[in-house]
Symmetry: C2
């Protein structure tokens, strides 16, 4: 029974807002039967309309085959009840509101109705899994799987267990997410903001300080990321970059530049205060930078360009296939 | 006479180490007569051999035309003396050792021998231009043009004047660098590490802390940048990303997430100490991540992939040509 359910090809997407509807695409693209449900049934239809429209667009712009997208669409099952959405599921991805009481209530329902072997994964970016699953019989099968928005475009997923999570749940989640084409990474323990939001916050703070202190414009700061740092970070993380920036590798790099880093770190301001005036300055600078292009066009361009960038990396891998 | 020299198509590359030889390619690719010189004449020949070998490789791997690369090669003139390298130059890019006394001596020589209208630009990443040009008659024509390594691959250049720099020198430098295909950005004043190294240092510090504190492995930290944050930052800087991550734009984004940022900022550790033990842990983690691939192969892959990424952005621009 357990192993049968695990072998099922059914995945449940619970909550179909911006994150949930994107998860739906991840699973449908992987060929899994994707059962979707939302407390607000109108949101299920909105997600479905968005999905159909975007698949049409992708067929046109990215040259996806019609058969391919038709199959993807057929994988999605819109469900009227939570029980229907959970029937036969091996994996449940919850993307409800970021509110502890709401999440606790939802996880109690999921635990009661989902097949016993199903993993219950939350998209939460900030809540403590231990608090969500406190007192829950199924706490060992609960896990955090926090995506970057939107997950069908940006593949990385932060995976971590809570105090009561079975280590096997974490391992199965990592394997499952890799199999559907995401890039899951393991956090050994909880830290606020996980990895992504912490590193982003560190860079964003300095970016804001440079504008605040009059060193450079919003546009200049963005340009050095977009046409400098980001070109490398799309290919290698900070350690990979350090490792290739000295002939002797990362040890030589941090030994040689250690003192420079220490003195820069000491110089970075930490008193950033996001006052309404500062936010308005950032807004004005951003208006100047993007003036003629609507935000919707910018967002669409970004997501399409990320998809192209990922295909570029796949077709020119650092390590040729079979060489691992 | 002045305007004749300004209209000349001659550029001098002074110092042909790793940075200088890459600058040589930027100018040669732009079709300018590129006169190269180094105090150590053996280094001129090394740069030349490296250049020829790399052009051969590019012809093969990136499909550059033979005629194109032949013309590029013909643009380079190896010079036996500094005077010869400076003859007729409109723009001088200095990439000598990062040593104040050496730079001061070199700038005195450049100022004495370069045509009066030539801009004297330094690649320095850390030295204060005011100190380099103190007492120099030609201080008004001196400027910092700090590239990311290597500039023929990563286009951004940080441009700033010193206390004695003529604002026209800064403007001319920005225009000139844009014309040769780089992405120059203006710094309104000096700050240690400029923009790029400061933002990089902020992110690197948090990356190191996450490994140090046992939250995640080197590989996990790098993966969330490479398959997450970096995919967006190759296309938009932090302000562009914030602006597209809320329907109401950057003002709504920082208003809605301001408290989350403030609390994350307060949580980021600032006591990072690059001890030999910590560097060794980063080294061991990086070895695990990259074990089967040589550093030279990684570096070459990275540079080729950046070139492909830039071509991708050029062929799918956010704003179609003519729409500015």
């Amino acid at each position: 029974m357990a192993s049968k359910a695990f072998r099922s090809r059914v995945v449940s997407v619970i909550g179909t807002g911006v994150i949930g509807r994107s998860w739906m695409r991840v699973f449908a693209r992987a060929g899994l039967e994707t059962r979707i449900w939302d407390r607000d049934s109108a949101r299920i239809e909105q997600a479905w309309e968005w999905y159909k429209a975007d698949l049409r667009r992708l067929r046109k712009e990215l040259g996806l085959g019609k058969a391919e997208t038709r199959e993807e669409r057929r994988s999605v099952v819109r469900c009227a009840t939570l029980e229907e959405a959970l029937a036969g599921a091996r994996y449940v991805q919850e993307s409800g509101p970021e509110d502890l009481a709401a999440k606790r209530e939802l996880f109690a329902q999921l635990d009661a109705a989902a097949p016993p072997v199903a993993i219950l994964a939350s998209s939460t970016s900030a809540l403590d899994l231990g608090a969500i699953t406190e007192g829950l019989a199924g706490a060992p099968r609960c896990v955090v799987a926090h995506p970057v928005n939107p997950p069908h475009v940006v593949p990385v997923v932060e995976v971590l267990g809570g105090p009561a999570t079975d280590p096997a749940t974490v391992r199965r989640t990592l394997r499952f997410l890799a199999r559907v084409g995401q890039v899951p990474v393991l956090l050994r323990r909880y830290t606020p903001g996980f990895l992504i939001n912490r590193m982003q916050a560190a860079l964003v703070r300095e970016a804001i300080n440079l504008v605040r202190d009059g060193v450079a414009s919003v546009e200049a700061v963005d340009a050095v990321v977009r046409e400098g740092l980001g070109l490398r970070w799309a290919l290698m993380g900070p350690f990979g970059v350090a490792n290739t920036n000295a002939d002797g590798g990362i040890r030589e790099y941090f030994t040689r530049y250690g003192a420079s880093y220490q003195s820069l770190w000491a110089d970075l301001a930490t008193d950033t205060d996001l006052t309404p005036e500062l936010i308005e300055r950032l807004g004005t600078g951003t208006d100047l930078m993007t003036r003629r292009t609507s935000r919707e066009v910018q967002r669409q361009w970004r997501d399409d360009a990320v998809a192209r960038l990922r295909r570029l990396k796949e077709s020119h891998p650092l390590t040729p296939p079979g060489d691992d």
